[in-house]
Symmetry: none
Subunit: 428 residues, 2 copies
């Protein structure tokens, strides 16, 4: 048995991409946790014919539950409830008690604001008190009520603003109609493994080995995704198949132990933050120009270990603010390992830090040469005890890719050096 669901996101501003839909992903996550299989997310504008077509499509696909978001407002372009009622073959009826509750909300919101004709507002909002006959009403979080229409499939109609939709979802879930619709759900576990520096094709090869050698391999649902140079491997399986998953982890560890940096879902940012506890870090950035500092300070509490950084875009800045010897730049070039090392050493000294990371590279599109093409980036990580790791990489992509990828590489170099270093004794 299983339970399948579909999500219908309505709204011209979402369809045209001017507003990014946040409800589809949020509801997808809720369904995943419940063990309800999400088959389709569909997006259309505020047009009855298109909404109806999507509802019919999902019903034909045999989903047990449809969740719609958006189109519950008082204006004429909000048509979801009426369209769903027609789709479910139910009349729209005025819910007097609901109308009174909406009036109460509006009275509190609008009060005696000058120039507002309250009767006119109420006429516009009466529409929101019209519900499909026999539907269960979900009380408004804002001014728009939601509805649950029992049936095959059961349809849950939720408002568009995420701050209204999210609190309303648990109430929808609690209704008998939704519980019945998702009765066949399966409980899954989901685990995430992360790797860095492995091409997707290398992983594909290993997964084929697993497919051939691990009994029950097909019972796991494995999805892989390459992002910022990191490979994310998400596996879903039923709890009874945990031993099969363990074999997969072992297989990946055997083949890609060096590239596998996380088996518990932790991000590189989480790991670096943890490794920096009790330390003080400073950055010296040329091509990434503040992106590493911004990323390190992205999380709350980072002021405990981030001292600061220098963006040394010009050669003068490298000399002035980081004490890089201009002769070094003259002889090796600004994009070189000796300069990266001098930048890291300079950051360490200037900020009185015990950990420093430096980048200098050619992000493009100009500035490349045969010897140092666009995408050439030198990295150096240096600790207070003199430990240094320096690397030069040739990164693919355009300017923005090179800068982003460099930031991620810097995080991984930091992790690599810090995880081998002894915990610093402060005040030494």
């Amino acid at each position: 048995m299983s339970a399948r669901a579909g999500i219908v996101v309505t709204g011209t501003e979402v369809l045209t991409g001017r507003v990014q839909d946040r409800n589809g992903p949020w509801l997808a996550d809720q369904l995943l946790e419940l063990g309800v299989e999400l088959a389709h997310v569909t997006i259309c504008g505020d047009r009855p014919a298109d909404i109806d077509a999507q509802l019919r499509f999902l019903a034909a696909e045999g989903v047990d539950l449809i969740i719609t978001s958006g189109g519950l407002g008082p204006t004429a372009d909000d048509v979801t409830v009426a369209t769903v009622a027609e789709f479910c073959g139910r009349d729209l009826v005025l819910d007097d008690a609901l109308e009174e509750r909406i009036a109460g909300i509006l009275r509190r919101l609008i009060g005696n604001r000058a120039g507002v004709d309250f009767a006119a507002v109420m006429t516009a909002n009466r529409k929101q008190a019209m519900v499909p006959e026999g539907a269960e009403v979900l009380d408004p979080v804002g001014t728009a009520p939601g509805v649950v229409v029992p049936g095959t499939p059961t349809v849950v109609v939720l408002p568009g603003p995420p701050r209204e939709l999210q609190p309303m979802w648990p109430r929808a879930l609690a209704t008998a109609a939704v519980q019945e619709a998702i009765a066949g759900r399966t409980v899954y576990r989901q685990e995430t493994i992360r790797m860095f520096g492995l091409p997707e094709s290398g992983l594909a090869e290993t997964l084929r080995i697993g497919e051939a050698g691990i009994d029950g391999f097909d019972r796991m649902e494995i999805t892989t995704c390459l992002r910022r140079g990191e490979l994310e491997i998400v596996t879903r399986y039923e709890p009874a198949d945990a031993a099969i998953y363990d074999q997969l982890v072992e297989l990946l560890r055997t083949h890609h132990g060096a590239e596998m940096f996380s088996t518990d879902g932790a991000l590189i940012d989480d790991q670096v933050a943890e490794l920096l506890a009790g330390r003080t870090i400073a950055t010296a950035e040329s091509c990434t120009a503040g992106m590493i500092a911004a990323r390190l300070t992205d999380r709350a509490g980072s002021s405990a270990y981030v001292a600061g950084g220098v963006v040394s875009y010009s050669n003068d800045a490298k000399a002035e603010l980081l004490g890089v010897d201009p002769a070094l730049i003259a002889s090796h070039g600004a994009v070189s390992e000796p300069v990266a090392e001098a930048m890291a050493a300079g950051a360490l000294a200037r900020f009185g830090a015990d950990t420093a990371v430096a980048t200098t590279g050619i992000a493009g599109p100009g500035g490349g040469s045969a010897e140092k093409p666009v995408g050439t980036v030198c990295f150096s990580v240096r600790l207070g005890d003199g430990t240094t790791m320096t690397k030069t990489l040739l990164l693919p992509g355009d300017r923005s890719d090179v800068r982003e990828r460099s930031t991620t590489v810097a995080m991984h170099l930091l992790r690599s050096v810090l995880s081998r270093a002894a915990t610093p004794s402060r005040g030494s």
Copy 2:
């Protein structure tokens, strides 16, 4: 006549919300500009049955063009091309020349990297050279080729990574099959106006005035979107209605002239870059911690005017690297206008720049007080001639919102100061 299109976004990571889809919105925008009506966007996982169901749904809805994104990789879970081939009733055939081109790309990417079995990689990637019979191949941007399958509807199959999809789209568009499919499109003009510092309700009020007073107002399609504190107003109209649009622009200028910073679609980043020509800028960032420097250097050629910056997260760094008097911090606090001004002055001096911008604020979640709550940010812009503009704002939202919004505010302050300043005489 008209031309209708549908977009099928595939990928379990997108369906489950782990990765935010960027292709749907981007393609929606492209179609809009072309005058092709987008009816539906559908999202499903990497499952042939679900992809096929969505293709059949869109075909049944009578769209002229279907664009798919994702599922073109070498791994077994990438099934889009095979599914589209079957949907279109065409066999998959190996394109030898394409296989050789992919091999060439992989050879350059992987080279002689130790431990990589090139033959195994090529086996995995042969799949990418299988194309529907009679389809037009779109050469890979990464390693995955796209295809255009002529028919009713015509299907364009594009890769998932936006940096591969986006450059490939114009090539798809140029094919005879796509041109034929969209032959019925209506040509629209689309113009974008940008405002900063105006609440959405203020704009709504003005648009109501326009609706009542401008003849033919309803023939324009106006959508508004609030993003990063900036209000974007996009208007579509047929070329014959240009005079009506001009009246709208005049109306908005009359009511919101101070807030309107762009009527030609230019971004604040474009404007600041232009104003910085012939200048040298340095940043001094506390709460934004490198985000302003990163944003200024986002565009190619920025090394001509960006000297660098200091991320002074700790008080010591403010004193050491920017020369901020510790007594100033002690008496006014690190988040104060005098400290912001001293930071800007310090950046100006240390980098030998003629333009500087400084931020110091409380991004949260901790660190707020009754007097200086979370979201309090002080900004200062200073020019070489002593011109200074300093401001304190209370910004809404969480840590990430405050940091992002601060970065945008800094850009607008720079624009404001620089657009009133005389062009600097270098060497003075």
